[in-house]
Symmetry: C2
């Protein structure tokens, strides 16, 4: 909800109107591998990646999903069917996005199985590694690790680029991997639309993903696709100054807000007796032409005292966080979402400031 | 797409406009068990069932899904987690909607397992029976069968009421089961919106379903929910003559179109040497106050000659059908969708008429 003020201000410009007889069919484009993708959304996505320069879309199929969560599941299905006797291992470097573990495990599928931290994975045979860069929860830039560590070349890679947008990090090049996931939730902040997309090199994988989404939900909301296409188009116009003024560059706006939040957060933590925040490297951003730092969507807080449970500490301050434990990391870490509304962020800073001289509450 | 002309004619009245800053959050109502259900949609659904009289909504939780497919999976999950050593059997009376089998089987879950025809199911222990009434593909009215047949009282029941609307069948009472599924695809024809809903009696089941949808897609498109709420509200107004004229009663319109199609179809089949269509009973409809016949959304065609493959026969006439085999029935049956655009329906009738005196093409 961090970006909401931008959209509220610009609301009219991004209006969409849908008539009672519009968008009624299951089908969007029977000639496309992903037959439920609205062609306007496909075109908008290609344009967006071109404008931002964060991913290659040439020779890629676009598969749309109900959020990138559904596309992650579609890729698991595409990589593992028809299934063999053993479930395929799924890993990601800790700390990892805890939903990966949930999604892989919740239906007790015989096709795949969550095996946790990619740094601890030593099995032979097929595996799937998810690379999330910048990474949720800790904001680090990531590369695949299993192949380099163990030489196991039987891996399939999923690049989750939810946060590879200029407001969060330097765009250092157009990502050119075989299977890349994006979501409008993090790109523009329209989480309620549940629109994600995959850029997929292999046609058979794109077909299998489409099959997954067909079986699981018979496609993806046309209303959300229609609106996402509009929002992306106008974002591109604003970024390229097409019929817009400079103030309408969404990514600059996003970076400005996040940058202010990170400054406040670092100032607050700086003198903390209890918490640490790590620094992120600066890199040259091809999108802005500037040297920029990663501004993670989350604060990855660490207790100075290794024996302290960071999330418990936060809870004592009435701050809602997520324990490092459920991200495959130590309990001295906790994640706090920074993409909230301004009043919530200010409250977070206020409560965090209250730690000075107070010591651990609820605290061991 | 059968109902599209109605919506095109009325398009303006059913317009929705969404501003750039609207519907951005994951959350719709943090106090509701189903926290991603837009309150306006919940209210519209309760009003609709009241107006039509087809289901009880008192003391029921509403869970919204990305189509009723996702809700079916959410119910399977709710009924079977935490899982036991054996997958729970899932059955439905043949001929059944083939997607049930696909959805149950495609991830090779250890939680549940497709066991086919409820009439052939004789195992002890837990099971789930899906009752689809009127039934896809054959249009019959259905009740649960396993308990009556075998006395096995360990079953959970899912009532799929996708077609229990006045255009398709007599509304003979307000269904009052524990777990009932509906979808806007069949109710109003807005299949592209991917909006289904469940009416659920047990709070824990509603919570588990919500958990399923949270893990699998972090909620349901807000744009689709917003639009579905509007469409349902205006349908209710039209049905109740609130600020509308008689011609705006959608359900009467729907029944009229379907009734014309069935008449043409029966006339065409009447003298066929090759095909039969069964008759549906007439019942008193509490909604219209008339004696009405079921007008199935599908033609369930049967070859007069038991040895003939009905779908093969249709293919020879360039008619796209679905074989009875994949619905758990004999290959002498095939299903043809009647809810298509008018030109497609007329083409179907034309091609079907061409059978007279031609004999089986491609045909054994």
């Amino acid at each position: 909800m961090m970006f909401e003020p931008f959209w509220k201000k610009m609301s009219d410009k991004y209006n969409v109107t849908i008539g009672g007889g519009d968008l009624m069919s299951y089908f969007s484009d029977g000639n496309n591998v992903c037959w439920f993708l609205e062609p306007e959304l496909g075109a908008a996505i290609r344009r967006l990646h071109g404008v931002v320069g964060n991913a290659v879309t040439d020779d890629r199929y676009i598969v749309v999903g109900t959020g990138s969560s559904q596309l992650f599941q579609a890729l698991l299905y595409a990589f593992t069917t028809p299934g063999g006797p053993e479930p395929v291992s799924v890993v990601s470097s800790a700390p990892y996005y805890s939903a990966y573990a949930e999604v892989v495990g919740f239906l007790r599928s015989e096709l795949y199985k969550w095996e946790g931290d990619a740094y601890k994975f030593n099995k032979k045979g097929a595996y799937i590694e998810v690379v999330n860069s910048p990474n949720n929860p800790d904001g680090t830039l990531r590369e695949a690790v299993v192949m380099n560590r163990t030489g196991n070349g039987n891996g399939k890679l999923i690049y989750d680029f939810a946060y590879y947008w200029p407001q969060f990090t330097a765009i250092t090049g157009a990502a050119d991997y075989d299977n890349m996931l994006f979501t409008i939730s993090k790109c523009t902040g329209h989480a309620g639309s549940r629109i994600g997309w995959a850029l997929v090199k292999d046609k058979d994988i794109a077909k299998k993903m489409t099959e997954y989404i067909t079986i699981s939900s018979i496609g993806v909301s046309k209303e959300s696709q229609f609106r996402a296409a509009k929002i992306i188009e106008v974002v591109c116009n604003g970024t390229q100054n097409v019929g817009s003024v400079k103030s309408e560059n969404f990514f600059e706006y996003g970076r400005k807000i996040l940058s202010e939040r990170w400054q406040k957060l670092r100032e607050t933590i700086q003198n903390s007796e209890y918490l640490i925040l790590s620094k992120y490297p600066q890199e040259h951003c091809l999108f802005s032409g500037k040297l920029v730092e990663t501004l993670s969507a989350y604060a990855w807080l660490e207790s100075k005292d290794n024996t302290k449970d960071c999330n418990e500490f936060l809870r004592g301050l009435k701050i809602i966080g997520k324990s490092g434990k459920i991200c495959g990391a130590h309990q001295k870490f906790a994640r706090v979402n920074l993409m909230c509304r301004e009043e919530e962020f200010n409250q977070f800073i206020e409560r965090l400031s209250a730690t000075r001289g107070k010591g651990f509450i609820n605290g061991h």
